[in-house]
Symmetry: C2
Subunit: 567 residues, 2 copies
């Protein structure tokens, strides 16, 4: 009823409350806790548990925010609930301005509104967004899953992009609280100041190696093969979908997963690790009816790429949810594992609580410098990658359109002239005309080679760059978390002076910011190491294929040349 500190005090973290009035405005809702107490709660702090009875929500410990009542508007991206996958988070991954969820509830998906350079639609690329198709039945399945899992409801209609963290869950909830796009840009203070850090078996050490802070890598890297797409069905064949076999190198025992499962895994990973690790989105959902076979092939290629990248990450691959995904025993095991994962509370900024740098604490100056360095680098690289994608897309279009057409015209012109010569009635034409006709046909073959070449070389270059575009798109969020934490630590003295926090709290915050920095550095070193490997590989592949291409053309022309006799 009143916007008083005591109102907020009565809410406890994890408590289930019932929303009594959604129309307060200003970012607040009125709610009642289990004890019947009613008060105002910042919308940001409310997690919607997607059950049919929509009134149940949980809230976090908000006592910290005494001093941060309505003055902090959602637009400042400061008031969010770490446990809430639906909290406000929208940031422009290209490093531009941040959009608060209030103004952009569905999130911004990079690449959707602007033409996707890596979607040469007119050439039948499966990326083409041609409306919903075979996925419709998947939509219906969500409701089945909801009933059976009692929790997770996926909505596959619409976007699931780098920025649309948490998908469009909210849209299926049909409540005004659907402004929770999901990324847990929890106030870092949640981690910086929380009283006890839950220690579990999930500790993640960070060592300092030759290149600097690094994650702990397993002796043998996990590998997964995604293969063998097959049609599966439910409801007595009324609903069908594609299932892929996923075979991890550890067990060599394949497990089946449909796209929806990958998406579920993505959501879990994003929720759990997204504050510290860039979790790139999955390949797109939409399907084009006409290109079904090609689409399935492309999707599988990209799911493979995604799995490989996840496998390479020591933190992700060793996580319980990932292990469940690749090694679950049976349906029951899968469903139970899913429920457990969905209940995981070590999500959002709390992930940092599992990390233990084995190195001296860093002072804030260095923490800030590193953060700034990575912010600049990821932004620059994002520009560079987008440039390659743009140029590559143009080149793709040229190589599959006007250029082969031109070679074909040249070839036809030679052949036409040759057949005119044949009609001359002059003896001794055939030596020339045969050779000219052969030359013409050679140019038609070259046209074909040119048109097919991008699939062999440019394709891989584009795929890699597209993956990196996705990865880089995650960094603004991550870096935003770190920046927010740094800002909070900087306010340490002020907060102590105002008796908001104790001196010990201030020291704790600094130590925890140092931990966050180690995590960021470890992640950057992981990123760089993979980047160098990936780009080295794709550049070699590209150039190798390019060499073969030009040599093949030269050989064909040499052959055509040899058909002419010297007169």
């Amino acid at each position: 009823k009143l916007n008083t500190p005591s109102t907020i005090d009565i809410m406890r973290e994890g408590e289930t409350i019932t929303i009594t009035n959604q129309s307060i405005g200003g970012g607040w809702v009125e709610a009642q806790n289990s004890r019947g107490e009613v008060g105002l709660v910042p919308e940001d702090y409310i997690e919607v548990t997607p059950t049919p009875s929509l009134g149940n929500v949980a809230a976090s410990d908000l006592s910290f925010f005494d001093a941060y009542a309505p003055a902090s508007t959602p637009a400042q991206n400061q008031a969010t609930n770490g446990n809430d996958p639906w909290s406000a988070w929208n940031a422009d991954p290209s490093g531009g301005s941040t959009n608060n969820w209030a103004s952009n509830p569905e999130g911004t998906q990079t690449g959707k509104s602007a033409p996707d350079p890596w979607a040469p639609v007119s050439h039948g690329h499966p990326q083409a967004y041609q409306g919903p198709g075979a996925e419709d039945d998947e939509w219906d399945d969500e409701w089945d899953d909801m009933k059976s899992t009692g929790g997770y409801a996926e909505s596959e209609a619409g976007e699931s992009g780098a920025l649309q963290r948490g998908g469009s869950h909210a849209t299926s909830m049909k409540i005004s609280l659907n402004k929770f796009p999901g990324f847990s840009k929890s106030g870092p203070e949640l981690y910086l100041l929380c009283k006890q850090l839950v220690k579990g078996k999930d500790r993640l050490p960070i060592y300092v190696g030759e290149v600097g802070p690094v994650w702990s890598y397993p002796e043998t890297q996990l590998d997964c093969v995604v293969a063998d797409p097959k049609k599966g069905s439910k409801m007595y064949g009324l609903k069908s979908y594609i299932e892929y076999q996923v075979t991890p190198s550890t067990t060599n025992r394949p497990v089946n997963h449909r796209y929806k499962h990958f998406d579920w895994l993505y959501e879990r990973l994003l929720e759990k690790f997204g504050s510290a690790i860039p979790i790139p989105s999955l390949p797109d959902k939409q399907v084009t009816g006409r290109f079904e076979e090609e689409f399935i092939k492309m999707r599988m290629e990209r799911l493979q790429g995604w799995m490989t990248r996840m496998c390479r990450h020591p933190v992700v691959s060793s996580s319980e949810v990932f292990q469940l995904f690749v090694t679950y025993k049976d349906e029951k095991d899968w469903k139970m594992g899913k429920r457990k994962a969905e209940k995981d509370e070590t999500v959002g900024v709390m992930i940092f609580s599992t990390m233990e740098p084995e190195a001296p604490d860093l002072d804030l100056i260095e923490v800030e410098q590193k953060c700034e360095q990575f912010s600049r680098f990821t932004k620059s690289m994002d520009d560079g990658v987008k440039e390659i994608l743009t140029v590559g897309h143009e080149h793709w279009k040229r190589c599959t359109g006007p250029l082969p057409k031109e070679y074909q015209r040249i070839g036809k012109a030679f052949q036409n002239l040759s057949s005119v010569f044949t009609s001359s009635g002059y003896q001794g034409e055939s030596a020339l005309t045969d050779a000219m006709t052969a030359a013409g046909k050679t140019y038609e073959e070259i046209a074909q080679l040119v048109a097919e070449q991008p699939k062999k070389d440019l394709h891989h270059l584009m795929e890699t760059n597209n993956e990196y575009k996705g990865l880089l798109g995650c960094f603004p969020d991550t870096i935003g978390v770190h920046k927010a934490a740094i800002d909070k630590v900087k306010e340490g003295d002020k907060l102590v002076a105002a008796s908001k926090i104790t001196q010990q709290d201030k020291v704790t915050m600094a130590k925890r910011a140092s931990t966050m920095s180690y995590a960021l550095q470890a992640e950057m070193n992981h990123f760089h190491s993979n980047r160098i490997y990936d780009y080295n590989r794709v550049m070699q592949l590209y150039l190798e294929e390019q060499v073969k291409f030009y040599e093949t053309i030269a050989a064909k022309l040499r052959q055509a040349h040899s058909q002419f006799t010297t007169m």
Copy 2:
């Protein structure tokens, strides 16, 4: 005064008459002969002798045309004067409708109105028509020449194309008789029925060889080298022009000629041989100031091509006028030779009177068949050649514009990403970044190669096809002469029955048509033989250069590839 046969009777071939009334209309003018007799004369029959006193004209023997008075309109292209270089002749060389001079006095120049496929104007090709420039002083020189030669006046302003036979002489005369574009499509009857054939030392035998009728070829083919362009001047340096050295293989003694002289030679050859032999036009007159050096080079290359083609022709190269051109001793020799050549009366259809087939007479059916065959062939080849020119022009534009630009963008994108990588602060970047930068630079080099390649291969293909376009453009005229002759012979019985000609005349006509056919066949065989040689050569050159091009690119990419290390 009256349009009566007797009026026409009073005019004799070669007679000088004075025009008394130009405004009769219907294709007639009133004139007075040296005996004071006044009568009407078909405009077509008047040759303007370009002297300052513009009233003097010569006329031919027109007695034959008793039966062909005003009923034959100029539009039928039937009433022309064999001696008159200014007689009506305009035909669309691409085989379309014929235009009489009355309706199109300046002639139709193929390639002028339609965009010239072989004129990539925007790329600074010297073909670009950018208005008169350095040729202005040549215009003035004409008047000098007129006074000194007393005859020939060249007008270089305007067109001198395949169809603008005889140039724009008429325009400088400023009389209404300027409707004489010059090509001597004399009524073939002039030759078919003339009483005595002048036998001179200029006889041209036609033998029947392996391939059929052929000209008599010299043992050693004449060759000319056009080189060494130098600036010459007259009027104490006030007027300057470019002079080329022409060195024939027979004497090895160079002679100097400016463009104007080549043009004069062209006019003479066209006049003398044009009814039987395709005399292609010279390279264009207009000059672009900015590209002077390139223009001179291109013009010289084309004059060389033209000379080579003329040298290859046994009839042309052995002609007195051609020999004068390449071997004149001094200025006096040149001027006297010019006057003599201008007075040559064996021009137009009368050239056939010098030809002597050493083979049995052909019957009219075969004559007609051959004529038709050649007509079809030259038309088809014209289409084929134009197709190559169109396609080649497009390709030229692409290779010198968008394509290199794309390679450059690719190269820059690689280099940009590489420099982003360099800024990472991660150790061990340089192996990758050095290689990526090198790869980027390689693509920039490839861009350069692509842009420069057309000059090496496509250029020659285009030049050859352009030459053939010019040559083929001459054939409609030539074939028109033959068709007219065939038609005339077909009327033989009718004319005998109407007592227009005697039975002997009819036999003579048939024999002469047979001679004309031998000449046409000899010319076609000459054409085919050269065509095969030229196309064989240029295709080999083109393909050879293409092979080198692609091999060079492959080598560069291989080099770039080798810079990457396996990780």
